[in-house]
């Protein structure tokens, strides 16, 4: 427990140094367009419920972004995880899908924007359920298919690639020893490949979550976006509110780091055995 706190404290040293440097530099530069004072940015965090530049509160914008990321990520995992596992387990499936995935993977999500806009237009959760107006419409129309698709793309490729790797790197001795003990194909899949790949699979889910969160800003810069941390940054920039830009950046950083930590702690706790295995 003591070591845990020590490690936590260690990882906070450099961020705190950065804040200190920021404080002093902001005072020395004295130009909020270059570097706004630290207290301006922090006062945004102290009043997360206060409406900012007509976009609703910081809290609301963060919540909208989180729901978008979760939805896009969830769909990506739903497809990428089984597909990656299948490709890792079967060389035939690997041969079939690998070429396509290899071609699509290098294209950054933001390059899809023009196509995605013409495909999905303003379709959102609201239009999907047939709403055209009302309070629910205002809320649900925040979740546009185009944005979810961009986030989906951000998460999909890391998850599928690492799932393939996870299954392929299960040691052959595990499979061999299960086979000589009388395992059938079903046993090999559920009792050898899947548990053997689990730690790497979870790590892939973690990388995918990070990547989904990173594509958020691209997604929220799409036309028709009127909320979310990414949009908050774009819009604050147009209004020359650099303090708000930095508030948005810090929110993304803190939430991303937190989600990453949750995955890591889960993985470390659940798969303690993997550190001792070569």
């Amino acid at each position: 427990m003591g070591r845990f706190f020590l490690k936590g404290a260690m990882s906070l040293i450099l961020p705190l140094c950065l804040l200190l440097a920021w404080m002093h530099l902001a005072g020395a530069i004295d130009n909020p367009m270059v570097l706004p004072p630290l207290r301006d940015v922090f006062s945004q965090f102290l009043h997360p419920g206060k409406s900012v530049i007509g976009l609703g509160s910081l809290f609301q914008n963060v919540a909208v972004s989180l729901v978008r990321v979760t939805a896009g990520y969830f769909v990506a995992v739903l497809i990428a995880l089984p597909l990656g596992i299948l490709m890792g387990a079967s060389s035939r499936a690997h041969g079939l899908f690998q070429g396509l995935i290899g071609l699509l993977r290098p294209v950054p999500p933001i390059a899809w924007v023009p196509l995605v806009l013409s495909w999905f237009g303003m379709t959102s959760f609201a239009t999907l359920v047939g709403l055209r107006s009302g309070p629910h419409y205002v809320y649900l129309s925040n979740f546009k298919m185009s944005m979810l698709f961009i986030i989906f793309l951000g998460a999909f490729f890391p998850v599928v690639t690492s799932a393939v790797h996870a299954v392929q790197s299960v040691p052959r001795t595990y499979v061999d020893s299960a086979r000589v003990l009388g395992a059938r194909r079903r046993d090999l899949f559920w009792k050898v490949l899947l548990p053997g790949a689990a730690p790497t699979l979870v790590n892939g889910l973690r990388i995918g979550m990070g990547s989904a969160w990173t594509s958020l800003v691209s997604a929220e810069m799409l036309p028709g976006s009127i909320s979310g941390v990414g949009y908050l940054i774009t819009h604050a920039y147009e209004l020359a509110r650099i303090d708000l830009v930095m508030t948005g950046m810090m929110s993304i950083g803190v939430i991303g780091a937190f989600l990453d930590m949750v995955f890591r702690l889960f993985g470390e706790e659940r798969f303690a055995w993997q550190h001792q295995v070569k």
Partner: protein
Amino acid sequence: MGQVLAVRNLNKAFLSEKGTSVDALQDIDLVVDENEFVCLLGPSGCGKSTLLRIVAGLEHPSSGSVVYRGEAIEGPGRERGMVFQEYSLFPWRTILDNIGLGLEFSGISAEKRRRRSEEYLALVGLERFGSAYPHELSGGMRQRAAIARALANNPDLLLMDEPFGALDAYTRILLQQELLRIWQERRKTILFVTHGVDEAVFLADRIVLMSSSPGRICRTFSVDMDRPRKRKDPRFGQLTDTILEELNAETLAGGESFSPV
């Protein structure tokens, strides 16, 4: 005594990375009788592990026949158990659940599985470690557990692929004695792959000497010493010497000399 295993005219060729065919095993003839302890001895790369994997059904020969009790071997089977060199226990399962793995695959109820697993846990002297995970055990204990896992499936022929190769010298000797005890108690037939001459002379009824490129059987030695064998017995040293000389003659072409252990 009946024949358990008969390998006839077996050849195995691999495709190398350059796409050329490499002979791993050439004209192998081998018979293993009921309750016999046979060691396959040879330098690394002589194909002894490949031969064992073919008998296990994990690989297929390029030509020739492999017959287990009158039936051609097509794939793995419970009657042929196998112990690997290391890292074959599933690290995410406890030792007890590892030992019960084969029973689980054959659909035996959890209660019966537990009792059988505990019996074999005790057989290899690991009673206190059933709920431990493999990484919490020493290399020697892990190999005991791997042996228990193979035995719990009640195989008739036990295939062992350098099972003590990764252990320190003292633990290896300890486990050799354990293995002989279990072999005598349970009346199994064992085909044991090793590159240790000392190990082969200590364990085997018969030593099958192999040479490399291509992997062939070059000679067979019967070991007519009573057990427990003493390493200080002059006959022990003599036989070890003879085998070493033979091995050195065989491997001289490859420029590799052979050590006694």
